[in-house]
């Protein structure tokens, strides 16, 4: 008896003799139509799922099965490879292909036979850039060049400050494009704004002031760090800097484009915020999440430029390029640099050095600027279409906030937001209400409205998404 004979034979198959290569014979009936590789893979999955092919069973060599079934060898080899890749089979040198132990129970729930339920037809959730606009070619070029030119040490343990190439490129870019005043030594690379906030939160006194409108996710990060966020009122000129709570020593702001209400922070208030920081030893955390995307005129510079010693500036690629590249940056006052580095630890834990090198090249060769310009044009057109459609068809509602960013706020009459959200769901629109971004402990009542992200839908579907939205809004405000 060879060791092959000890294999469990497939139950319920027609053949029981070992195949020519040592694997067990296998009876399969394939439907006559469909690509052979696909139908074979499906039949094999079904055989495992049903228990007909038990865990540990050795499959016949693909040549033998191809001959049995009258299929091309490649089709069988490909189907085997597919099931190995999916974890149904295992392939080991010298022991052939076998059914994975536990594959029937482990893999079955992950391969549902039923089709996935249909998602919303139009994704109008805020905060997502157009995934189809990712500049694949230009990024590839930068990544390849950066990888070829990188010094050897770049492939060793990472510096928690981030790659020097990227910090140099960011210092020049942020200075030029966002009016940030910094050298590379005050920049710390992170994996996005949330990562930056997680690093900063434990370092600052426990009372923070936050805008009364903001991302609950960010307030949750402060909560988790034991920080108490106190809401500051927001109006059409941004945060009310005359209303910063007396005990706060850190102020989280979105000056370029208040999130999500869309206000630009008034110049006088910028100055007032900086005066507050100077007078109290306070720190402004500037979340410049979409500062590059201003459509009516040139973007206003960062508050950081007014006083680099009192502002921690934070930016990321999540809106400007893609959230799939987990890269962001903090520009910090001198005294915070060391503290954040201590919090990060001795090695970089998150941000890929390869992506950092690619981004440095991408910025320096001008591709980042070109991408921003292209997206600015595209998003501006989309915003204009949305605003014009609403203005002409439902003139009683307003799109508020400056012409900027990846989202617009459609103000609604009091008492209509929930109905609008329900109607939107019915219409296949995925979006949020304005009130869900209002801090629960803010004294002012929440405005009602819709936060409409206009960047993510495919270009070809955008017109239909706007039509559907106009229909929802019109139905709700006209009762």
């Amino acid at each position: 008896m060879t060791s092959d004979d000890t294999d469990t034979a497939p139950r319920g198959g027609t053949g029981t003799a070992p195949g020519p290569g040592g694997g067990a014979d296998l009876h399969l009936e394939l439907p006559p139509h469909g690509a052979r590789r696909t139908v074979l893979a499906q039949a094999l999955r079904e055989a495992v799922r049903s228990g007909r092919l038990a865990g540990g069973t050795r499959l016949p060599p693909y040549r033998a099965l191809a001959a049995d079934l009258g299929l091309a060898r490649n089709a069988v080899a490909d189907a085997y490879a597919e099931l190995v890749a999916e974890g149904w089979f295992t392939a080991r040198q010298g022991s052939g292909t076998r059914v994975a132990e536990g594959a029937a129970t482990a893999a079955a729930p992950a391969a549902p036979a039923a089709p996935a339920p249909a998602g919303p037809r139009h994704d109008l959730l805020q905060g997502k850039p157009d995934p189809a606009a990712f500049p694949r070619g230009a990024w590839s070029t930068s990544a390849r060049r950066a990888l070829a030119e990188a010094p050897t040490e770049a492939f060793g343990p990472g510096d928690p400050r981030g790659r020097p190439e990227l910090r140099r490129a960011l210092a020049a870019y942020l200075s030029r494009a966002r009016g940030v005043r910094t050298g590379p030594e005050n920049i710390i690379v992170c994996s996005g704004f949330a990562n930056g906030l997680r690093l900063l939160a434990p370092l600052r006194p426990r009372d923070w002031a936050v805008e009364e409108y903001g991302l609950p996710f960010h307030h949750g990060i402060l909560d988790a760090a034991g920080v108490h966020p106190h809401p500051v009122p927001v109006d059409e000129d941004g945060a009310r800097t005359d209303r910063i709570p007396a005990l706060a020593r850190t102020l989280l702001l979105t000056p370029a484009h208040q999130f999500p209400t869309g206000a630009r922070l008034l110049s006088a208030r910028r100055a007032e915020a900086v005066e507050w920081a100077r007078g109290t030893g306070g720190l402004i955390v500037e979340d410049d999440y979409d500062g590059e995307f201003r459509y009516d005129r040139k973007p206003v510079g960062a508050v950081q430029g007014l006083d680099p010693g009192h502002v921690a500036y934070a930016g990321s690629l999540s809106k400007s390029l893609s959230p799939a590249v987990r890269l962001g940056w903090l520009v910090l006052p001198d005294d915070l640099v060391g503290q954040v580095l201590t919090a990060k630890g001795q090695r970089e834990s998150w941000a890929s050095a390869l992506d950092q090198l690619a981004l440095a090249d991408f910025i320096e060769c001008g591709a980042y600027d070109r991408h921003i310009r292209r997206m600015r044009q595209r998003y501006r057109t989309r915003r204009d279409r949305l605003a014009e459609a609403l203005a002409s068809r439902v003139p009683e509602v307003r799109v508020t906030g400056i012409s900027a960013g990846l989202h617009a706020v459609v103000d609604l009459p009091p008492g209509t937001e929930q109905a609008a959200l329900a109607a939107a769901r019915t219409a296949g629109l995925s979006l949020d209400g304005l009130s869900s971004y209002h801090h629960p402990s803010a004294p002012t009542p929440a405005r009602e409205g819709l936060v409409v992200g206009y960047a993510a839908p495919p270009q070809a579907a955008f017109g239909r998404a706007v039509e559907a939205l106009v229909g929802v809004v019109r139905g709700v405000v006209r009762g």
Copy 2:
């Protein structure tokens, strides 16, 4: 009066009239030797640092300065670009190049005039693969192909489970190469082992058992999560699984290659650990940090393969490819998958989707296997050279542990480790003592020895590193 005239003229310069392009004239004296771009950049930095060029000062157009100084235009343009990149200057469309506000104070501390102190000549710290061996070409090919073939949604917000392409590739690879039994649905991508441990620690009861030898960094992660690590004795057959503390419900193991003592966990102990987990409802966390690198025979499979329901398997690229690509993976029992995903949150916060896609391709096209084979050969040769040099020149010390991984332990006589470390520092060797990896609350006294990482030194310098180490060890043990 034009707006140019309101610019601050450089103080202490010889020229005061505006230059031909609107920028202020600038007096600079350049040393006669050295690349023009470099000496010009140095002189400009010095002018800012000294305050001679105040913040906001507009620089003369590079053509004008080139003419003044008799330099090539390119040299001046390059020097300007360099200072912009470093944050000393700002360049804005339509307003020319200016000295950055605050550049003198902000940038000065980061540009130390003194040369950096010389580091150790040979890096023998454990845990670092050879950075010069990073397969730049093959990775570039995979990254380019993956980027070209990725579906559009890959550039949207990331799934905290990780890219499906990578989880499929890992399921097949880990099954084939490490005997891990899993489908893609039990894999969660993370940014490395530490990230995985940070996710798992809060989910498991507060008492963990850890091997008495291990990375203090990992024990620190458990401490930070409020978990108490109880040390389990380790001998030449790995962890003493008969000595798991009664209150522990989680056991952190390095079965393939005990870290850092180098034992392989005995088969009977593997079975005993799994029995313990089954009997107590416990979980084994298997840190397979260098499981692919076994040199004396075929790597032994993962403990996870014995019972996927009671083992959380963790691996990463940090040893097998590079710590610069921040990617790792957890293979989890069903009930832990949801818990870890809840801990991760709704979106991927850390792991780059681009790197994930590249790695999936890199594994599937066979490049990862080729890289592992190549490295296995290289590291084996290095380990053999180290062991042979010590055996022939200092036969009274032993290299202990199995022939595997990126480091070796050189056992030393009691009372000599500190002296050996001091001698190593003097000889320009960077390495750690074995006792620094011994858990401080373990009852058994720490062995003495050196933990020698042999993977990182450049190929050409490895012989000298071994010579220096042999000299250190010989000097210490022969007094």
